[in-house]
Symmetry: C4
Subunit: 275 residues, 4 copies
């Protein structure tokens, strides 16, 4: 057995582990990766909490380097094992994989080990996107995604309507409220922000109407939003139900022509003929 054959064997084995999701080894690898991603994102978050960073700065740095090296190894392996390395490297996930490990080294050599650079921290959080790769394992994600995709156009119309209402209401609020002392309605964009915060029922309360007319407009705006919020729900719900129905019903009966049989039907429910 030649050397190159043994390398090929290792490559095939590794390829199975890293790229396949059905084999036990592949599943285990994906699970470990998922936990690595979650933990490294958690560590990157904790580093921004001052009280924790002051106490455990070195430990967090150490863990962070452990994950960075692990992801680097994984990235290099993927490049090596991939049949078309260039295609992988320039794909969305290839770039995410690269950006979530390589920049740390640049900072290390340039800034001398202190990964205080905000940019590196943001790049590290890009690791989250790697979880998206694993979403297709979860049964049910597809149903939701299709429901949203089918509702795409209607949701766009809905957003346009919201923005139009918010712009009109924001403009009105600006002219009504901007004259009041200490008013926070200092410009139309600020007032549109208020209108969107109101119509979506978030209502932070950092900006509030201070005149009676402003309060009246706000009330109208809220009630409009109340009717409008029903629309995206209705759209998505009706799309999901439509999706279900397509799941459930199959072709017409060849003998009597009745539609709408259950998905597992073998015989027509009307005439008893074989489907």
């Amino acid at each position: 057995m030649s050397d190159s054959q043994s390398v090929d064997g290792i490559r095939a084995k590794l390829r199975e582990i890293i790229f396949e999701a059905e084999t036990p080894a592949g599943k285990a690898f994906d699970l470990v990766l998922l936990w690595f991603v979650l933990l490294s994102v958690g560590v990157a978050m904790l580093e921004t909490v001052e009280a924790i960073d002051a106490k455990f700065h070195h430990q967090l740095e150490g863990i962070e380097w452990f994950f960075t090296i692990a992801f680097t190894i994984e990235y290099v392996l993927r490049l090596w094992l991939s049949k078309r390395p260039w295609k992988y490297a320039t794909s969305f996930y290839g770039i995410v994989d690269m950006m979530s490990c390589i920049p740390a080294y640049l900072v290390f050599f340039i800034a001398g080990g202190e990964s205080a650079f905000a940019v590196v921290r943001v790049l590290r959080l890009m690791r989250m996107f790697r979880i998206l790769k694993m979403v297709h394992y979860v049964h049910g994600a597809e149903v939701i995604w299709h429901g949203l995709a089918r509702s795409k156009e209607k949701i766009a119309v809905f957003f346009f309507a919201i923005l139009l209402i918010a712009t009109i209401a924001g403009t009105l609020m600006f002219y009504v409220e901007s004259g009041v002392e200490g008013s926070r309605f200092t410009s139309i964009p600020m007032s549109i922000y208020y209108a969107i915060v109101s119509i979506s029922t978030v209502g932070y309360g950092d900006m509030v109407a201070q005149t009676d007319l402003g309060r009246f407009i706000t009330t109208i705006l809220i009630l409009t939003g109340y009717a409008v919020i029903a629309v995206p729900t209705g759209i998505v719900t009706s799309e999901l139900i439509k999706g279900q129905e397509t799941d459930k019903t199959t072709d017409a009966c060849p003998s009597c022509g009745v539609h709408g049989h259950l998905a597992d039907a073998t015989y027509c429910r009307r005439c008893g003929a074989k489907l």
Copy 2:
């Protein structure tokens, strides 16, 4: 070829560009117009942001005049090309088109170029309504609109219910809270504003209950609102699903012309003729 014929040719050509939406020229014109409207609304908004206006006042003024002149030319062309100019001029969109360009000249000649007048700025924002003309291009807008239109009566009942609950709760809150020092429940209309802000789950927090009884009433109010918010959603959703079902049902009866048969119908439900 007479002069009048050549003018007629130009009119026909322009009419195709301005009024028709199907031809390439018409589509391009509509797209340019859409961007002009969006940009001019954006500029009108930016003018109200003090920091930007201080720096770029003259540039914004210049852009604004560019759009005003463009919309004026378009308005004059529409008047000239229209077969019934008077009908166009007095229609909703005709008035919107006029109000969004003409007043700027009045202010210019009267106030000497400073378009500081609030009224002119509001009129300029009326240009937004011109976007409504283009909504019918968007597939899906109709479905939503029909859904809402069919739910009209039920939504009115729902609003009436909300207002009734808010009035009762507001009145109660006024008598419970108005005696507390520093209370903002100074009148029943103010308290109704609070009730609507609460029941719609906006909750700005500018007015809050300060007594135990007030908090108890607020809790009841919120929970009622929680059940009530389900209603408009249910209404719109069931209307959208109904709309879909009507969609699914097939052609008219060849014998009596009745529409809206169920998908599996073989015989007309009105006259019994074979479909």
Copy 3:
């Protein structure tokens, strides 16, 4: 024609006007009454706005007395015209009608004309309930009402679940937050108020978590509420859709037994037999 006969004629005529809603006179009476109720409620509200009351106190008082006398005349007429006056007087609407006019006189004679008594003002606002009598005119109110009535039990379960979650979360928040300086989580009922304000997505912001653990519990609570708010909507929507289906479909075909014909079907859509 005897005197008693003429009185009977007047009674019959008045009865038609006051009790019947189908005749032109009855409709006009109901419309006038609706506006009287709305205006008198509006006046009672405006009286609580100090700035308005200071200026127009006497005018508002005058209008108020006009409505009080009008409602008194209507109440006396209803008593006189009713076939069973006692049953009317002790019915819900009878008591509402009485309470919204009689107490004003008591205050007038006891307190000497100054209707400053809060109790009288509340009673005056009871006139709002008279609008409920007219709701049955509005097509669509019934559909909503039936939808809610059919969902009654499920909505009760839902409220119980919300209260259970709010109680558990409130108790936890109390033990986590009550030790912090200046904390507003001073008791478990206060903390339950916070939990309900949070889970319903109202979020006034008068009480907020000040510890990291408190914020974590709040996040869990909000996400739970997010899933839970879907439930009443789902319940009401599915009931409304069920209601629609019942509306739409009638009996089975006598000849072939197919169900689910449209409400206006005369012939079976499957076999063409007369229904």
Copy 4:
């Protein structure tokens, strides 16, 4: 009649009262227990309200001991009557029953009667969980529960999506807002808390964007949340409707036993036998 026989008779009688829910005695016992649980939870809550505790401390303590003794008797009886006492004692409800009465005695003997221990108070509130045992009486709870259970996977996907969006938006907000003076965006976890409070439309207002860019990101976040909130509603609604449809379909096939035929089925969809 021997002594042991008479004890057996008492045991059988008590078992009927305590374990069975169908007999009149069993129903009465359950109702008394429900009220005992609700009242004792209410008392435990009132004890945390300072104003009430200062006035009625001894009365509340007395009532509390009454309930503690009652629940102790019930717990001992359940242990004695149960056919497998150990299984009951180690079951979820067995532990709840025990924890809600036994610890009070420990505190009494150790701390000398002052049940000021926070831990005991929390344990007392565990009595609430006993209500869960009685939920199955309520018709409708099952429908909701099944709807939620069937949506389990999709709701998990939805929560994952919310957390992903909140993490991304929180990270962005942290880098945008953390530099502003007095900013409360002090760490990424804090910013994620803000993102979740915003996307869920709670909006306490304790943290608000102070920069224009921050407000812009918040607006995008809110509008995303607006589209996303439609998803769990759509999921639950479509599951509830599916549940209803399954409800509507009739009996099992007499020949092969398959359930869940459509309402208008005449022949079994599996074996073709006449229903």
